[in-house]
Symmetry: C2
Subunit: 89 residues, 2 copies
DNA sequence: AATCTATTTAGAAAATTTTCTAAATAGATT
DNA sequence: AATCTATTTAGAAAATTTTCTAAATAGATT
């Protein structure tokens, strides 16, 4: 919660790729990790950052953990940017 | 140039405050620095990051350096976020 | 020309972030 | 119950970022 966490989460390229990847629907941690050239532990770390930022949510099913986008936080961020479109002088 | 730099620039709270501060129009490095409890050198560092990211531009006048928002990059960022509003399943 | 004023640059220390390896967890299968 | 499979957690090393102090720059004033 709080913009600080959300912006920090968005500042990493791997995490932005994960978000784009999830546009197509939910994916398991393993599916996500297989797209990157890093250990599953590292990808798990990135997923935890995205989750703390509220950008994704998790859902356990069998022994998989599926992640999906939480679009409402994207809207909040858009609002932040909207401040720059109005207040123009 | 490049989203990486722009998102990194936006990930710091001090820098986001600077951007909000510049909505009201251009401000000198000194005016900006006086709003923070850190050295002018540190604020100068943050300004350089914002400038490299294309979020602000500078303009020299007398021995002041004025900074102002570069709104076009904000639009590019908004476009990035727009990707998440469409591709919904 | 000497000095002042506003700002940046260089270099180092401190803080934070990213990554890895190894171990832990927890549900599913045998 | 033992083992397998998917994933996370802990702890450490490496990389990056933030901050400071001190010095440099460069235009303006005396």
């Amino acid at each position: 919660m709080g913009f600080q966490e959300t912006f920090k989460a968005l500042s990493d390229g791997v995490r932005r790729e994960i978000l784009l990847m999830l546009r197509g629907g939910k994916k398991s941690a393993g599916e996500i990790a297989s797209c990157f050239d890093m250990t599953n532990a590292t990808v798990s770390y990135h997923l935890s950052i995205l989750k703390k930022a509220g950008l994704i949510t998790e859902e356990k099913e069998k022994n998989y953990i599926f992640y999906k986008l939480n679009t409402s936080v994207f809207e909040d961020i858009m609002m932040w940017f909207a401040q720059f479109q109005d207040g123009q002088k």
